[in-house]
């Protein structure tokens, strides 16, 4: 007997109990003119049916009400979504049964935006957010942002709906929005997926998903909720038996102790150890731990900025004398590197694409602590090129840090300590002029039009430096000026990049971060490229509608600028004369989009285009006043390419 028939019998039983005034309905089923084979509902044309045959309502708790109970038990604060019929049951339960709290429904204008918001939210809140996407079509929209999060090892709870039983699907659309195995769309880029067939299984799968996605290596998970399971009432006898498993946070996988002791031994023996940190900072404790390790060893740190790893002005932070530090190293301790091979090798963009080893100490040893290799899948190649190391420690680097510190302190003699202290002083001296050099560099383009990224970044810094700020956007397209010139010392002030460089990440991820910052007294400022912004302009409406305070600055170079350079490279390589068509297909101009007007149309305060650097400060001041009042704002800045 199918689940559907059981459901019908249950509804019929309720309908036959007039003493309690019950009339249950399967709304989708009664809309059909022909009953499903085996259905308890007779095959009578809809218009000919007496109303009494159409149980119009359910009473009591529904399946999706219970699903909301499960989400509340997991303390999911927000669920971002564009509405869709495959999860209408859950949608209605969230806003009415759940009173639109825990989770609160955040309306987005694209599923990619919903998923990218989850990405940014996690990196600030350090807890997952959910998005809910329409069966098949919504999931495909969301898949780019899911891939970014997967490549960035960031968890998110992706929920979707599906009308699993073919004979109860309405014609046409519900078939288009159903799949035999819709998780296959994103299975290569999620850590776990499930389509539970009962409410108890749903509860257990949700808790399992939460545990799996928040245990390193982290990644998105997908739970698909069956349409009937959502919409049907829960039989009273079943309701009594339902139980939501208690969520118990799992410890993170730490490195094997024997291997950690071996790493400590190698570090103590090294003359010039260098620490390389990339996706290391998992919690807000991470920067302080890394500083303590660097101070203990007297080792410079090269921070690749994909997490908040280390205060940028700490004198042991040598990120902007990277090659000098690495060339001098006889041991590199790589903490959660993304591309360990690329740390010491290079494939220049030349015709022959040679494999060039970087200049390194011939006796260089590499100790690697990380989890990035623990979730390699075969299709997408985000796992990077195979890299050798003298000691590989499989484990979360931050979770391994206490044991490494303890092992170092145990193994270091007084002489070792003295040697490391002496080295520490010298290494600190080597970075003394980095800030001064950066200030000199940024001045070169101070007064240019189009406005230089350096001027833009430093005008912004001048406005926010005396308050609690957070910048969630990527910095590589503004020459990393914030990391060179700002004072980034709090563990939440930056959050790294997109993971897979899928364009359209910055605006929605920044909004997710701003959502996490909401109510924390932090000013969220994001500099987003125009190409990136145009992938998800609807994010502005979500910001305005939900009153999420954030300042967006559009770094408007009126181009897909990276690709401008790429096409120039191709044209030069092929000796094209005059480059007459070289900008075809890469400029976002003629007409130039007016981002301030677009933002105003979505309900934001906005100014621009700002073309004169002298006008920047005033525009930023006015926009930040709006943000400090709790609303979003945008400034369009006509910018140099970089």
């Amino acid at each position: 007997m199918t689940k559907k028939i059981k459901r019908r019998q249950f509804l019929a039983g309720l309908a036959a109990a007039p003493a309690v005034g019950v009339a249950a309905s399967a709304t989708r089923a009664v809309a059909q003119t022909q009953a499903a084979p085996g259905s308890a509902i007779p095959a009578v044309p809809l218009t000919d049916r007496p109303l009494s045959d159409m149980p119009p309502q359910t009473i009591g708790k529904t399946g999706s009400d219970f699903m909301v109970d499960v989400m509340k038990s997991l303390d999911i604060q927000y669920i971002a979504s564009c509405p869709g019929s495959t999860f209408r049951g859950i949608h209605e339960s969230i806003i009415n049964y759940g009173d639109n709290k825990t989770p609160e429904f955040i309306t987005t204008l694209h599923e990619d935006t919903a998923a990218a918001m989850c990405h940014g939210y996690y990196k600030v809140a350090k807890k997952p957010m959910a998005c809910m996407v329409h069966g098949t079509v919504g999931l495909q929209h969301a898949s780019m942002a899911i891939y970014n999060a997967f490549a960035d090892r960031v968890p998110m709870l992706v929920m979707s709906g599906s009308i699993g039983n073919p004979v109860t699907r309405q014609a046409y659309i519900e078939w288009n929005h159903a799949a035999q195995d819709q998780a296959a769309i994103v299975r290569d880029i999620t850590k776990y997926d499930d389509q539970p067939t009962s409410l108890q299984a749903f509860a257990e799968s949700m808790v399992r998903s939460y545990e799996i996605m928040t245990t390193a290596p982290m990644a998105p998970v997908l739970i698909t909720a069956d349409g009937d399971l959502q919409e049907d009432p829960i039989p009273p006898e079943m309701e009594k038996k339902l139980r939501i498993p208690k969520l118990k946070a799992r410890s993170q996988p730490a490195g094997d102790l024997l291997a950690v002791r071996e790493a400590a031994k190698m570090l103590v023996a090294a003359e010039n150890p260098v620490i390389y940190a990339n996706r290391y900072g998992r919690t807000e404790n991470a920067p302080a731990q890394l500083v303590a390790l660097a101070e203990l060893l007297g080792a410079p740190v090269v921070d690749a900025h994909n997490r908040m790893n280390m205060p940028n002005r700490h004198p042991l932070n040598h990120s902007f004398r990277r090659e000098a530090a690495l060339q001098n190293a006889d041991l590199i301790l790589a903490l959660e590197p993304i591309d360990l091979w690329g740390l010491n090798n290079y494939v220049p963009d030349l015709v022959t694409r040679p494999n060039d080893p970087r200049r390194r100490n011939p006796n260089l040893k590499i100790v690697h602590i990380g989890t990035e290799g623990m979730m390699a899948k075969s299709n997408f190649q985000d796992f990077q090129r195979f890299a050798e190391a003298d000691l590989h420690i499989s484990g979360d680097a931050e979770a391994t840090m206490p044991a490494l510190m303890e092992a170092l302190k145990t193994q270091m003699s007084a002489a070792d300590k003295s040697r490391c202290d002496g080295r520490c002083s010298k290494v600190k001296e080597q970075s003394a002029k980095l800030l001064e050099q950066a200030r000199a560099e940024v001045a070169y383009s101070w007064d240019t039009k189009p406005i230089s990224s350096g001027r833009l970044v430093m005008e912004l810094w001048d406005q926010i430096k005396n308050e609690d700020w957070m910048m969630p956007s990527e910095t590589q397209f503004v020459v990393d000026w914030p990391y060179r010139l700002w004072d980034i010392n709090k563990p939440y002030q930056t959050m790294g990049g997109s993971g897979a460089q899928g364009i359209g990440y910055n605006s929605p991820a920044a909004l997710g971060a701003a959502l996490a910052n909401k109510g924390m007294g932090r000013t969220t400022v994001a500099i987003v490229g125009d190409g990136d912004f145009n992938m998800a302009p609807g994010v502005l409406w979500t910001a305005a509608h939900h009153k999420i305070p954030i300042l967006y600055i559009v770094h408007n170079n009126r181009a897909y600028h990276q690709e401008v350079m790429m096409i120039l490279r191709m044209a030069a390589r092929r000796q094209r004369v005059q480059n007459k068509n070289v900008y075809v297909g890469t400029l976002i101009d003629n007409p130039p989009p007016d981002y301030a007007k677009i933002a105003q149309g979505y309900g934001l305060f906005a100014e621009g285009p700002v073309s004169d650097p002298k006008d920047l400060a005033g525009a930023m001041r006015r926009a930040l006043d709006v943000v400090r009042r709790g609303e979003p704002a945008l400034i369009d800045v006509v910018s140099d390419g970089r």
Partner: protein
């Protein structure tokens, strides 16, 4: 053709076009001084050949700087963009070195032949870069303090 004295990629200038490098690979700014040192070494060569530096038109040079896409990697006033191209503004680079780098580049810069950019066009670009106003003293900018 004169020997190109500029360092090869990875010997000082760090990363090239962003997508060819993982995010987070920053150039080594202290090594830039090595680069500039190399350039300055060329400068003396350039000064010695000053009489060979053709006269260019700065205005036409700006147009060429945009037309040929120099700005895209080096910035509109040649200020440098760290990942994509070094600073060539006030870098003391002699014309001969500029021409050599353009024709037979070291590092990842695309090569431009005389068919693509004639020597006169390079001279205009050189004139543009060498007549740019001096940048303000960073100490005079309150935003940098």
């Amino acid at each position: 053709m004169a020997h190109n004295p500029l360092p090869r990629r990875g010997e000082g200038l760090g990363e090239g076009p962003g997508w060819s490098s993982p995010i987070g690979l920053e150039m080594d700014v202290t090594k830039r001084s090595v680069f500039l040192g190399a350039v300055l070494a060329v400068l003396s060569f350039g000064v010695a050949q000053a009489q060979d530096t053709p006269k260019g038109d700065p205005k036409a040079g700006l147009a060429n700087f945009q037309k040929y896409g120099c700005y895209s990697c080096h910035g509109i006033v040649g200020q440098g963009t760290m990942r994509d191209g070094p600073r060539i503004n006030a870098a003391g680079i002699g014309y001969a070195a500029v021409l050599t780098q353009l024709r037979t580049p070291r590092y990842e810069m695309p090569a431009y032949t005389a068919v693509q950019i004639p020597d006169s066009g390079v001279a205009d670009i050189y004139a543009y870069l060498t007549t740019l106003p001096k940048p303000p003293d960073p100490k005079s900018l309150k935003q940098l303090q």
